[in-house]
């Protein structure tokens, strides 16, 4: 199973991903129709892309009265079946992160679907802040990252700092 990975330190805030996402899904370049959002923190000059987490037990899925939202057990993606959607917007209120949202008309529900397994956003992310990776590989990377951070703390402790 592959998931979208974000490396916040690498994001330059160019927002190419937002345009690519919108174009892939609607044929138009409108950041309001993008499923991925780049959050800008100007005071710290940092940029943080945020994307649907495809929750294990997703609040949006639980609350959908028509089962228009279901988790695909193979890909792990919480999928939206438009035909079944009545537009009640329960899912949008249920997501505390704002990851499932309305399009620019304020009427239609849109959500990240990993572009069916070939995400458009990663292709335009030149600094490689976004990637699409196997869960196992990510786990290894995370273990290493955490260990590196703990090593720094341990070093400080030995020196009597921290």
């Amino acid at each position: 199973m592959r998931v979208l990975m974000l490396d916040q330190a690498k994001c330059t805030g160019c927002r190419a991903c937002e345009y690519a996402c919108s174009f892939e899904h609607t044929g138009k370049f409108n950041p309001l129709d993008s499923r991925i959002k780049v959050n800008e923190f100007w005071e710290d000059l940092t940029f943080v892309p945020s994307v649907c987490l495809q929750c294990e037990r997703a609040y949006c899925e639980e609350v959908c009265p028509t089962s228009a939202l279901t988790k695909n057990p193979e890909t792990g993606v919480v999928e939206l079946e438009k035909e079944k959607c009545i537009g009640c917007k329960q899912c949008i209120v249920a997501c505390p992160w704002g990851s499932i949202k309305l399009d620019h008309t304020g009427k239609e529900v849109i959500k990240c679907d990993n572009c069916g397994g070939d995400p458009a956003c990663i292709k335009v992310c030149y600094p490689d802040a976004l990637s699409y990776e196997e869960v196992e590989d990510i786990t290894n990377v995370k273990v290493l990252e955490t260990a590196t951070r703990l090593k720094e703390i341990a070093k400080d402790l030995v020196k009597g700092g921290a």
């Binding site: 609350v63 028509t66 329960q90 209120v93």
Partner: protein, 410 residues
């Protein structure tokens, strides 16, 4: 472990799903008073308007292992012997019991109750009756007694079908339970534009059948005609069958923060309960679909043996009315604490702030991230530096830096 669930709707089925995943060895039985397979009650107005493209989409996901028994209405519970009894003369034993019997419409005027021309909308059979009346009557107009959430949704569906409606409202305004006077006026404007008539400060005295329609006599003496009357004056929890039990009730069943009732091993969730409100800190009914889902998940988790605390609840509503999205939360109908309002064209925004925290809001028209508003209110995040964004409907999750590291209550 034997789990028994009384009531098979939003809360009952979600609890079954949770139990199935947390205790695969458990034996789960669900009893439903209704004869039809469980369906989503909140989708009924969408069935009327045909926004629900197929009737099949109404039905809730079928539990994979639980034993669902239709047509079994529970009439009594013996909490000592841990047994429930149904009107169909069956008894069921349990180790852990969950009550999710929801609520029923309340018809305050006794005279109206029982007339075949007076309907309420709660069950699928009610909606089928309404559709039937609309088909058969020579007058299409529907008389809506009360302008609460359900009747407003019915009116919206009628407008989609180009069927006129008349609200007869005693309280003078629409949605008086969730919006303030100004908000009501914004919605009433849209209602009128969409073929709805509003008669305020009046109620219905008598309904008389005449040929293929109904004559409706108002308290002022005025007579109007319609295909039928739909009464939407709120709901009352279905707790009659608990009369002989020691389970503590007020208007609804009182539950503690673990969703347990005053009797051990008996839990309750959904519209049948009253739970602590975050803003008022008092017991209130939060008869809402998403609340039924949250409460049932937590109740089921605790029935398995965990001790999950249910965070205090807040009222909230999102509904599509006459082309506008109406999103409210907290103490929305009042003007209390710090009040900020913004009106522009067809949109009306209001936020209420107490000690820098959101305690209420109304958005008629656009709001970017409703879920973030709810999370900000439920978790009482500081918005004092974000008032400008908040009133514009533009709050986003990333504006709150600290909460990233905390557990987020949904």
């Amino acid at each position: 472990m034997r789990y028994l669930i009384v009531g098979a709707s939003a809360a009952g089925l979600n609890a079954a799903r949770t139990l199935e995943s947390l205790d695969p060895q458990g034996e789960i039985t669900i009893l439903s008073a209704e004869e039809v397979f469980p369906y989503s009650k909140m989708s009924l107005p969408y069935l009327l308007s045909n926004k629900l493209k197929k009737r099949d989409y109404l039905f809730l996901p079928s539990p994979s292992k639980a034993n669902l028994m239709l047509g079994q209405r529970v009439v009594d519970i013996d909490v000592e012997r841990k047994k429930v009894e149904t009107g169909q003369n069956k008894t069921f034993s349990y180790d852990k019991l969950l009550i999710t019997t929801g609520a029923e419409p309340y018809v305050p005027d006794m005279e109206l109750e029982g007339s075949p021309l007076v309907l309420t909308v709660r069950n699928l059979s009610d909606m089928d009756k309404l559709k039937d009346k609309l088909n058969k009557s020579d007058v299409k107009r529907v008389i809506l007694s009360g302008a609460g959430l359900v009747n407003s949704e019915i009116a919206d569906a009628l407008a989609e079908l180009n069927i006129p409606g008349t609200f007869v409202i005693r309280s003078h305004r629409m949605l008086s339970q969730i919006v303030d006077e100004e908000g009501s006026e914004f919605i009433a404007e849209r209602a009128r534009e969409n073929g709805m008539e509003l008669i305020t400060g009046e109620s219905i005295a008598k309904v008389q059948e005449e040929g293929d329609h109904a004559n409706i006599f108002l308290t002022s003496g005025k007579v109007i005609q319609g295909s039928c009357v739909v009464v939407g004056k709120g709901v009352r929890p279905s707790i009659d069958f608990l009369e002989r039990t020691p389970i503590k009730c007020n208007t609804g069943i009182l539950v503690n923060e673990y969703m347990e009732t005053s009797v051990k091993d008996v839990y309750a969730a959904g519209d049948v309960t009253e739970s602590k409100d975050l803003i008022s800190d008092e017991y209130e009914m939060h008869a809402l679909w998403p609340v039924a889902m949250e409460q049932s998940r937590i109740a089921a988790t605790n029935m398995v043996g965990y001790s999950w605390k249910y965070p205090k609840e807040v009222s909230r509503n999102i509904v599509n009315l006459f082309g506008e999205v109406v999103f409210t939360g907290g103490i929305s109908k009042e003007d209390a604490y710090e009040v900020y309002k913004e009106k522009e064209g067809r949109s009306y925004h209001k936020i209420l702030v107490r000690d820098g925290k959101l305690v209420g809001f109304i958005f008629v028209g656009s709001v970017l991230n409703p879920g973030v508003y709810l999370a900000a209110m439920k978790n009482q995040w500081d918005v004092s530096h974000l008032l400008n964004e908040a009133i514009k409907g533009a709050l986003s999750y990333s504006m709150f830096k600290a909460p990233m590291r905390e557990v987020v209550n949904i």
